[in-house]
């Protein structure tokens, strides 16, 4: 049944592709316009919320915009600096000056706490990535690959749960896990075992910042690694089985070498995610409990510019922090496209348009 059908369709398809060059210019133009019509809503949103903000944040980073001289009028900010009075050929300077050049960046590099925040960021990204987003993810996917298929699926599905739990609820759960006696769950076990009570939030805030993020981050790598492990040809594993390899030898010499590509993908993708995401740190510690103790770079940008808790918002200075991340983000995103051969995915559509 299937064979004759495709035989019938082939000439039709050929006719279609032959017909294409024969279209008039008007038809082509109309087809183009239809295509742009379909793309318009997405295009507008992307321009409005990706491109304009990208330019805007570059601009904001060279201004001194803060609560004291707040305005949303971007053009007005520009004009106030370069307003030329053509009548007398003099420059009017009585309006507030906004553009301060690279002063924000100079201030950022001179900031007493910038090295600490930078180190915090690197430490946080490194630990979360190695121990959880890659390490734990690999452990879970290897473990679930070695058990009953349905049970493996069940465990992997459970790991999605933190990701779909609202950040506020998820962080509240962790706060109760680490709270002091009599409320804390770990401290309840400590008491039962006769161990001393520990104020984990005060003593080891980093551990919990990393745990809270890691337990969410692990599921991304887990899914990627699992699909990679499942696509390993069974022949390879059977061959190693016949050769009498142990489980660990199979993992070390068969599975892991084949996971090199997914590993690279997860490492690069998650590095960027961790570098820029701060939602859970904001909710769990907000950068505390000590002075900048768990503050990371992206959180600094947010706190300086948008956190209503600190009354004096410094949009200009915060933008300077954000610009660093935007630059890293753009460079890495373009690198992905090159490294992971996305060009092949972007190939021409196989079917010609009518």
């Amino acid at each position: 049944m299937a064979a004759p059908q495709s035989a019938l369709q082939t000439p039709l398809a050929a006719e279609g592709s032959l017909a294409a060059p024969a279209r008039s210019r008007r038809q082509t133009l109309r087809a183009q316009l239809t295509a742009y019509g379909f793309l318009a809503p997405a295009g507008c949103l992307v321009i409005l919320f990706f491109f304009i903000p990208m330019l805007l944040i570059l601009f904001l980073s060279i201004t001194n915009l803060s609560t004291t001289n707040f305005t949303t009028d971007v053009v007005g900010m520009l004009r106030s600096d370069i307003d030329l009075d053509l009548g007398s050929f003099s420059i009017v300077v009585d309006e507030p000056k906004y553009i301060v050049g690279l002063a924000n960046f100079e201030r950022m590099f001179a900031d007493e706490f910038a090295p600490k925040i930078l180190f915090n960021t690197l430490f946080y990204v490194f630990c979360t990535l190695i121990f959880f987003n890659v390490g734990l993810a690999l452990v879970i996917s290897l473990l679930t690959a070695h058990i009953n298929r349905r049970a493996g699926f069940f465990f992997r599905a459970l790991w999605i749960l933190p990701r779909i739990t609202s950040p506020a609820v998820y962080v509240m759960m962790w706060r109760r896990i680490i709270a002091v006696a009599p409320f804390g769950i770990i401290n309840q076990f400590n008491q039962a075992l006769g161990r001393p009570e520990v104020n984990y939030y005060q003593d080891d805030p980093w551990v919990f910042v990393i745990l809270v993020n890691g337990f969410i981050g692990a599921s991304f790598g887990m899914i990627i690694f699992t699909s990679a492990i499942e696509s390993i040809p069974k022949d390879l594993l059977n061959a190693s089985l016949v050769d009498g390899s142990s489980v660990f030898q199979r993992i070390r010499y068969v599975i892991l070498p084949l996971l090199r590509w997914p590993l690279l993908f997860v490492v690069t993708y998650q590095t960027l995610s961790l570098l820029t995401s701060f939602e859970y740190i904001l909710l769990l510690t907000g950068g505390g409990p000590g002075l900048y103790q768990t503050e990371v770079w992206s959180l600094t940008a947010y706190n300086r510019a948008l956190n209503t808790y600190f009354a004096n918002a410094q949009w200009g200075y915060g933008s300077a922090f954000a610009v660093v991340l935007v630059a890293i983000g753009v460079i890495m995103a373009i690198l992905y496209m090159r490294v992971f051969r996305f060009n092949e995915l972007v190939a021409e559509p196989k079917i010609e348009v009518l």
Binding site: Q32, T34, A35, L39, A42, L45, V46, L48, F49, F50, I52, P53, I57, T72, E112, P115, K116, F119, F123, T128, H146, I147, R156, I160, R163, I164, S166, P167, A168, M172, M173, R176, I177, A181, P182, F183, I185, L193, G194, R195, P196, D203, W206, V207, N213, F220, S273, T276, S277, E279, L283, Y302, L306, A322, G329, V330, A333, Y336, M337, N343
Partner: protein, 534 residues
């Protein structure tokens, strides 16, 4: 082939049996204890490695020219964790060594495992005693034993020469408070635990009917009580015996459950807390601190009348639903339209648009939050449109979230359209249907699974959204449930955690129902769809 392998294995077992007959139990136990101690050593070397790393990390900011230091480190926690699991690993190894023996002589294997487990326990405990760790950790103490009575805390015994003795407290005294505050024994214990050696606690003591305040300096002591030691021994023996009969196939399951333990505990707490008066750890307690106290009062927020500063929960739920549903609808429409154009049409700039989608998919959109604040502010100044899509409006929040999901949505939709055969659409176009009609009536029904997956994804991220609503709304007018929950937790008024837990569970319910029915879709989509979050 198989038969030969089996017979070979059989031979191996019987020769092994003979080997075990010759070896005495003592020698077996010695071997087991030896391997167990090697395990402990290896793990402790790990601890030492992490302890060595600690000062390195501690001083790392100095490499960046900073005078600040890192106070707490993750490496110390890993070291502590290794130290915690080392004894258990040792007991397990002792048991595992008896596995071959258990195949033909169970009783002897159990006996040997018990002996080896007990020996390892004694050695480990001696080690802990020498290094003053585990149950022998020094902790703040008043160096007297007390018991709770109706009148107050009765001092049963004072250690001679101890800090309480120095301060002049005698057996038979009745402690009623710290300074002016009344205390119970558990409160006093907590106060002592939280203080450092050298701190002074002023106890209000009643002696012979007269009240006086006695300052007692907190000292440290190694309080050795028998119960943890006995419990430890029993655990050691149990682990050793279980290890003997542990089927290899169970290990992955046990490990998976062990790794998930924090999450499981967290979710169990959430469930227990919502239905109880108060919780201590994950145990529900009543007002007196005993097990029990089940109540539905935490769910009263569902029927509470709105007051000035507290909006009704249903208003917030409606807000959240409006944001989540409208976001889902717009994401589906906009990204399927764009996906259709990219998959089916050839136009100038197609390749640019596609690679742009991919770059944006990799780009972390959260870094633009500050600038988007100004974009929304400026939209707000436009008449009419500004009232619905500007700063501090539901529409504005929804639009920003839609934009953040778009790169993923467009890419996914393009993939789904690519998988649909061209012929169905062709016949409709030949019959004279417009592109839009073909898209809307013919193709969209074909990619229903894709729409479902993306729709679920968008709804869940809209429903739980915290950062964007929090950043782009003032007050609770446009707040989502997540924002509301976080506001409750940071209230200055006394926080009723159990009620917040109930609100949290209430917020989770729809997502949880979707989760149960759509696990497979979710697992697939999250591989391509992690934006912004770690």
């Amino acid at each position: 082939m198989t038969a030969r392998l089996l017979s070979h294995k059989h031979e191996a077992i019987s020769s092994e049996a003979e080997t075990f007959e010759r070896i005495s139990t003592g020698e077996l136990v010695f071997q087991a204890v030896f391997s167990a101690l090697v395990t402990v050593m290896v793990l402790e070397v790990g601890v030492i490695v992490f302890r060595v790393l600690e000062p390195l990390i501690h001083s790392a900011p100095r490499l960046f020219g900073s005078t600040t230091t890192v106070d707490e480190t993750f490496t110390r926690a890993i070291g502590n964790l290794l130290m915690l699991i080392a004894p258990f690993a040792a007991y397990a190894v002792a048991g595992i060594k008896m596995k071959p023996l258990a195949q033909y002589n169970r009783l002897r294997a159990i006996g040997a495992a018990l002996l080896a487990g007990a020996l390892v326990y004694v050695l480990v405990t001696m080690g802990q005693f020498v290094f003053q760790i585990g149950p022998f950790t020094e902790r703040p103490s008043l160096q007297m034993s007390m018991v709770q009575t109706d009148e107050g805390i009765l001092v049963e015994e004072v250690i001679a020469g101890g800090t309480a003795d120095d301060a002049g407290i005698k057996a038979g005294d009745l402690i009623t408070g710290i300074r002016r505050a009344e205390v119970t024994l558990s409160e006093l214990t907590t106060a002592v635990n939280h203080s450092k050696a050298g701190d002074v606690i002023r106890l209000r003591v009643v002696r012979d009917g007269e009240e006086e305040q006695i300052p007692v300096e907190v000292s440290t002591a190694m309080e050795i009580s028998l119960i943890p030691l006995v419990v430890g021994l029993l655990v050691a023996l149990a682990v050793a015996v279980i290890a003997v009969f542990w089927p290899g196939g169970w290990t992955p399951y046990a490990l998976l459950i062990l790794i998930m333990l924090p999450l499981v505990l967290g979710y169990v707490w959430l469930l227990v807390a919502t239905f109880s008066f108060r919780t201590e750890g994950i145990m529900p307690v009543n007002a007196e601190g005993n097990f029990g106290g089940w109540t539905l009062r935490n769910w009263e927020f569902l029927t509470r009348e709105p007051t000035g500063s507290n909006p009704s929960i249903w208003t917030i739920t409606l807000n959240t639903a409006v944001i989540a549903v409208s976001m889902m609808a717009i994401v589906l429409l906009v990204s399927s339209m764009a996906g259709y154009a990219l998959s089916r049409m050839n136009f100038v700039g197609r390749k640019t648009f596609l690679s742009l989608t991919l770059i944006l998919h990799g780009f972390p959109a959260v870094t633009l939050l500050i600038a988007i604040f100004f974009v929304l502010r400026n939209i707000g100044t436009i008449p009419v449109i500004g009232d619905y899509f500007g700063y501090n409006t539901r529409g504005g929040i929804a639009l920003v979230m839609v934009a953040f999901e778009l790169p993923l949505g467009v890419w996914l939709m393009k993939g789904f359209f690519d998988g649909i055969p061209w012929d169905i659409e062709r016949s409709a176009l030949i019959d004279g249907a417009s592109r839009w009609r073909t898209f809307w009536e013919i193709l969209l029904p074909q990619i229903r699974p894709g729409l479902l997956a993306l729709g679920i994804f968008a709804f869940i991220s809209g429903w739980g959204a915290y950062l964007i609503p929090q950043t782009y709304s003032i007050g609770t007018k446009t707040a989502t449930l997540s924002v509301y929950i976080n506001q409750l937790t940071s209230d200055t008024a006394p926080v009723n955690w159990n009620e917040i837990a109930a609100v949290g569970l209430f917020q989770m319910l729809p997502v949880f129902v979707i989760f149960i029915f759509a696990q497979e879709y979710l697992l697939n989509i999250y591989a391509g769809g992690t934006k912004g979050s770690s």
